[in-house]
Symmetry: D2
């Protein structure tokens, strides 16, 4: 049974409540009839307020310097954690896994991306990869972005490359012998990734897969940070069903499971 | 173990071998190192040639008037069947299911669409549907097509509608009060479907899903009928692993199974 | 010489200054170094304030019930007008033309759409229409929109139809004999127009043109009403160069003129 | 008056008639009621056949080593030339210009690209460039292509860069400080160009322009070399109206001229 599906609303605290994402998360939790916003914790506020409010799930939207302390506190006080804070290294994830063994009933969701569309593009690309000879990734963002390509695009390319390797596919075909520097994009594990920067855009990603006579395009367009809130709420509602550490919202989306077969 | 993965090539016959699709199928089977084209049966040819050639799998690309007889003959002679012939009704499928009970080791694949991209768009749309408030289908074809929307688009909309119903979603939002006739497309189980007809195109389909601040687009572009051949070969190689009747190539694509979780 | 290109900033008043568009226009004028915002007129305010402030150009972003009075007042007080207010009929335009004969030095711009991208799509579609056998229009908007298709899409289709007629083209080919009601979209002067409604979108339009083996796609995506401001500023800066009534921002964009030939 | 609009069909010869493009050109000329195919010249054939057949226009689809000789022969025998042969340098164009002064009534069209959609994308991009803060070019081709980016994409970027310079625009904004090598594409005169290589594609180009809250996308999709034939026929029909050397089919398309104003 999912947390929050019972009659009592699930009690939720937001950490980093005064940041841009935090404020939106507070509003989204507040608006959901099955959730109750019991604490809004900002920088400098005491975490005890969270315990006093009886929070069952904490949404951490803080900063790398704060998130580890927050997760440790939550796990030692019986509170599930959903976090979109950045800065996760393999070491940090290992540390959290350790902590989880001390609190086996609690769940921690670390989500690099709460956009459900973005997560689905990544997952579908991974599933489709082995059926197509060619694949490239194009990400498009506003021109104020500092890094290229986006972390999501790099991760998508890595997942595609792994799926191709597992399926025993040959390298993608490319007869280019004469190229302007940079024309063919960045090479991420053998998958070409192109980064477009354009005023007017926010965050967009397109995966193009091609075989003889056919192409498949998977595209996510994010126009507004509000788009992350449905994903945050999925995390909040399902974290209690996933004890231990989970990395990636896609693991909460039941994508492998029950859907009836198309041909039934 | 998949048929065809052993050392001996799998012995394949093509029925309807002189039609447009049939000729392409003969060429594709011929070119595959793990398959052997042992019989090319055209209109008026005797099916016995198929038995004499020791065919293990028959690819039927004939016409509605011929396919039932062909399937019956194959099942009574120990030959698996992969067919892309049209005209399948619930009654016909029931009849084949009956026949299959008499030959429980044999498989029959009825595939309305052998395009892997088209099949994936359908499947991904079905999986994604429950996460988005809005969804519409746009199909685009050459202007010589007789029906609108395409059968694939109708089926896609039906699968989406069923997935939405299963997830308990509200009807898609639409405030339109003043419309030119036809502007909002056809209504297929509550999902709007638009059919574009344009010289230069062959067969294309786009599923658009939208939630607050985000859209997800799934698109298949078919430029050439050659694009169906990879799907035909998947069918040929896997039919022996799927005894009984299967409707839809998607059921051979292992989409629910082994792929490692993105977060592992 | 364009108004505003001299040393003195051009003096601009905004009518409807407290509406959503009006507030944005005030901010945009204020931010432009070559323009000076000298009056912000809201409902109930006296137009005399406009004269007292020495406005040279008035931007009218009011309502159909107010705009005619505003234009008349401006033309009789020596003030150019740029308006994006709706509700223009042939009769209303004729009336303004009459008034203009009394003030031959003044310009009035009536712009159904200030989005430069939207205007360019319309214009390019009109120019390209005669080279392609097929053409269709797809517009996509948020689901709270009341009418379908959009006024811009209808106008685009009309311009395309007129360009085809002028070039003597045959009707667009369409072999459809069996269709679900609405599948083929609305018929606007022989051009099919499809209206998609999707949460997450704001205002988007795509014109698809096709000939043997080739398609041309012209697409405008509007994510934010801020996108109208560059067009408003073009209108303000150029209205003094276009005495009399002009309908459509495209006529201020110098699209036919000086651009050097590609082959030079 | 355009050549070919009279009652007598225009007499056309094809040079390079046995190549892939040449065969298509012969068929296209043959199928046009206002044109008559009077000579098909292949490698080794005598050009005199062309004169004997009374050709008025020669379509040269040969190779760089042959084209100069062919053009010279045609100009000295009173025959207009339309050529899509590659290998044109500034020197070669100058030589042809010289020859033309000796035959002032004759026209020569050198067309790097006969695809009308491709030519229109280039032209519209050039016209739209000055209205948008950002612009990038994405070209997509089959993976057997040897160069990246395509010549058309490079030329498009150059035309855009020139239009921006002429309009006094600032460099396109780009805050990237941390990038994987190649992620941001090739730099062509300050315009980023990305080259995608994908099985299933033929030749595609997309120009993305963006300003605050809005993007404009111009896209050409070429699925088949048949798409070049309408452009070849435009060249054949109009070459007599353009004495002297013309580079670029766009100069025959009357894009600057008569089209009625949208607001009239």
């Amino acid at each position: 049974m999912s947390a929050g599906s019972g009659q009592e609303p699930l009690r939720v605290a937001v950490l980093g409540a005064r940041g841009r994402m935090g404020r939106q998360a507070c509003a989204a939790v507040d608006a959901a009839p099955d959730l109750e916003l019991v604490a809004e914790i900002g920088r400098g506020d005491r975490l005890d307020a969270l315990a006093e409010a009886g929070a069952q799930v904490a949404v951490d939207l803080t900063v790398p310097a704060a998130v580890m302390g927050n997760v440790e506190w939550c796990l030692s006080h019986g509170v599930h954690v959903v976090t979109g804070t950045t800065g996760w290294t393999a070491d940090r994830l290992d540390t959290v896994r350790q902590w989880c063994t001390q609190a086996p009933a609690l769940g921690v969701l670390v989500a690099p991306n709460f956009g459900i569309g973005a997560v689905l593009v990544m997952r579908f690309a991974q599933q489709a990869a082995r059926f197509f000879e060619s694949v490239e990734v194009v990400e498009l963002h506003h021109p104020d972005k500092l890094d290229a390509p986006s972390g999501t695009a790099v991760r998508t390319a890595q997942l595609i490359a792994a799926a191709r390797a597992e399926a025993g596919l040959d390298p993608v075909p490319d007869a280019t012998v004469e190229a302007l520097e940079g024309a063919r994009g960045a090479d991420v594990d053998g998958v070409r990734v192109h980064a477009v920067r354009l005023r007017g855009l926010l965050a967009h990603q397109e995966v193009l897969l091609g075989g003889p006579g056919e192409t498949l395009t998977l595209r996510d367009d994010t126009y507004d940070r509000a788009s992350f809130m449905p994903g945050v709420l999925v995390g909040v509602r399902k974290v209690a069903d996933h004890p231990g550490l989970t990395v990636g919202l896609e693991n909460y989306l039941d994508l492998d499971g029950a859907p009836r077969r198309a041909g039934d």
